[in-house]
């Protein structure tokens, strides 16, 4: 409509300018041509106003111009304003942005991870993945989180879409069906949305690895029912860790070393010495129930304190009161207790339980649940032994599964061995690997990750794991990393020996400190060749 008005008004003005006679410099009658009229009206309506061309106007012409100026200028401004309004229109901009986003995602040519939910855990996960140079794509329903994504100081550019991830259309736009999409992480804070994402991905892209967060048992069950690869329940996961810490300290240390590069040797020693004393559990919500179940399963005595036991039946001997009161804690036996776990969903309550317990008994093992990240400083100042942050638990698990799918196989193989065996494996690792620079990583023998090895293997050369553990230029030096686990189709090797031959398609899990020698062995064909030659020479020399 504004365009039609502008065209009509301008054309009438132009026509008038052409029809009205003027005079040239010497006084002869002169008619403007269409070109001159068009030129004049153009700069008149846009308020630029170069003046009267080609000759000074007659009174008649000026009369017509005076009539035309106002409508043309108004029509022009009206049109201009409409265009600006359109540009600022939310729906228009969103459509534009979605198109750009979809095009960007379509053009990704490397493996990428689709992260649904950019709250606390989503942000941490994306930070970790991009730090390892893994491309991510983010989708979150909250527009503000997506605009924060643009400000966040990430290692790579991460496109973010603000749309409801539970609608399959949006997931497809975010690259769900993209052939390079490796895995999808459904870690929004809404279980139903996560469930919907998991279902959508299983149906639309069945090869995709799906990692989903779930805090409710029924959602977890339905996620498992249609084959979600990894369901993360932060409460169950933490309860399991807690039980490990008390009865299988070596397993606990091993897991935290693999996932977080931390070695809580003192913590594990201290906690396991307290396993025979009584533990106090404040709060019997989802976390409390999970911890109670896993601790009693391994034979730890637990007393529960809960002020409002709603639907859940409290176990026998529980105290119905607020854990924040000293009398309650004394009644629960804090003086002789081994540890206390504050598992309510309120940060302030948890903190005050911790403070009260500490004042009564300063040797007690303190574990608290922290819900919001902004309370970091408070919880840090409290001097706790362990802090349970649901978001961190989710991120740690999700990250391990996304970046090292093999870790899952390794962990499940590891979890069935006894604590003494885990301890001995840990000792072997510690003998070779500096714990302060510990790293875990996965390698698949293929063109993309290990081109030099793949090429030599395809030529029929035999390469063994030991060749990966040496600097090709200095074969005599041992490198500070070891092979933890290897897998070829259905065969699995725990701590594979150096003589294990490599095959194309084999997946290996390493841990230790990744040195430059590592890259040389993977990418440098000449270096690898050289190392293999010297090795065979030495072998020939030895018998003789």
């Amino acid at each position: 409509m504004p365009l039609i008005i502008m065209i009509s008004v301008s054309s009438i003005s132009i026509l008038g300018m052409v029809l009205i006679p003027g005079v040239d410099a010497s006084g002869h009658p002169y008619h403007m041509t269409f070109f001159e009229a068009f030129y004049f009206v153009s700069f008149m309506s846009t308020t630029i106003g170069f003046g009267e061309i080609p000759y000074a106007f007659t009174v008649g012409q000026r009369f017509w111009v005076a009539l035309c100026i106002y409508p043309t200028v108004i029509a022009w401004l009206y049109t201009f304003g409409s265009i600006l309004t359109l540009m600022q229109d939310k729906a228009f901009r969103q459509t534009l942005y979605h198109t750009i986003y979809a095009r960007y995602v379509r053009n990704i040519r490397e493996p990428f991870y689709l992260v649904c939910g950019y709250g606390t855990s989503g942000r941490l996960l994306v930070h970790r993945l991009t730090h390892e140079n893994r491309q991510c794509v983010v989708i979150d329903v909250n527009e503000q989180f997506i605009s924060e994504l643009a400000i966040d100081d990430l290692h790579l550019f991460v496109p973010g879409l603000s749309a409801d991830a539970s609608e399959s259309e949006h997931l497809v736009r975010a690259g769900l069906k993209h052939p390079m999409c490796r895995a999808i992480a459904a870690i929004t804070d809404n279980d139903q949305v996560n469930l919907k994402i998991a279902i959508t991905s299983r149906l639309l892209h069945p090869d995709l690895i799906v990692v989903a967060r779930s805090e409710h048992r029924d959602v977890t069950a339905s996620m498992h029912a249609f084959g979600t690869h990894h369901v993360i329940d932060p409460f169950e996961a933490f309860a399991e860790d807690m039980a490990n810490l008390l009865v299988r300290p070596a397993h606990f240390r091993f897991q935290s070393l693999l996932a977080e590069r931390l070695d809580p040797v003192d913590l594990a020693a201290r906690a396991s010495s307290l396993r025979d004393s009584q533990w106090i559990l404040c709060g019997f919500g989802r976390l409390g129930q999970a911890i109670h179940k896993s601790l009693t399963a391994v034979g730890v005595k637990v007393v529960v304190i809960d002020a409002f036991p709603d639907k859940s039946a409290l176990p026998d001997g529980s105290i119905i009161a607020r854990g924040t009161q000293k009398e309650t804690l004394i009644q629960a036996g804090i003086m002789s207790a081994g540890g206390i776990i504050a598992a309510t969903s309120d940060d302030a309550d948890n903190l005050s339980i911790m403070m009260a317990a500490k004042q009564l008994n300063d040797r007690v093992f303190l574990v608290a649940r922290q819900e919001t990240r902004t309370d970091d400083a408070l919880f840090g100042a409290c001097g706790l032994d362990m802090i349970m942050q649901p978001n961190y638990v989710v991120v740690r698990k999700a990250h391990a599964w996304l970046s090292m799918p093999l870790l899952q196989d390794f962990s499940s193989d590891l979890s069935i061995v006894s604590d003494a065996v885990a301890e001995s494996i840990l000792k072997r690792i510690e003998a070779r690997v500096p714990v302060d620079e510990f790293e875990t990583w996965q390698l698949e023998i293929n063109d993309y990750e290990a081109p030099a090895i793949t090429e030599l293997l395809e030529k029929g050369r035999e390469i063994r794991i030991a060749d990966l553990l040496r600097d090709p230029w200095h074969p005599e030096k041992t490198q500070p990393y070891i092979a933890l686990f290897a897998r070829q189709d259905d065969s699995r090797w725990m701590l594979p020996g150096g003589s294990q031959p490599l095959q194309v398609g084999m997946k290996l899990l390493f841990c230790g400190h990744r040195t430059t020698a590592w890259r040389a062995a993977l990418y440098h064909k000449e270096a690898l060749n050289f190392a293999l030659e010297t090795e065979s020479l030495e072998e020939e020399r030895q018998p003789g």
């Binding site: 365009l3 039609i4 065209i7 009509s8 026509l15 052409v18 041509t33 070109f35």
Partner: protein
């Protein structure tokens, strides 16, 4: 009967008739081709184009395309005449012939446009 449809059909048909009015006559004879008629054809064509904007149907996109072709042809014709008058200084029969043949091209596009409009009206279920 809707006023909007009348309006639309009026401009589309007027664009065609104006275009034809300019085109009709001996190809290189400037007297047969009125400049004001070309001006009118351009303005009406532009308005018709804008009326066709925002149509999402298949017919709508075809009509928009044909209208854009007509605009291009007529504007090119106007530019040729403007060039002849102002830059080369003399409107020779060659220039007139070029401008008129360009408007002939635009005429074809306008005919397509009207045909499409008629087809659309004919397929309309009552």
């Amino acid at each position: 009967m809707s006023l909007q449809r009348v309006f639309f059909a009026f401009f589309v048909l007027l664009a065609l008739s104006m275009n034809f009015g300019f085109f009709y006559g001996q190809i290189d004879n400037a007297i047969h081709h009125n400049l004001y008629e070309l001006f009118g054809a351009i303005v009406i064509n532009l308005i018709a184009t804008i009326l066709k904007l925002g149509e999402r149907s298949h017919f709508g996109s075809l009509m928009l395309a044909s209208s854009l072709v007509a605009d291009a042809g007529l504007l090119a014709a106007a530019m040729v005449l403007g060039y002849a008058n102002h830059v080369s200084g003399n409107v020779t029969p060659e220039f007139v012939a070029v401008a008129v043949s360009l408007s002939g091209g635009a005429l074809v596009a306008n005919i397509v446009s009207v045909t499409l409009m008629v087809i659309e009206a004919a397929t309309l279920r009552r």
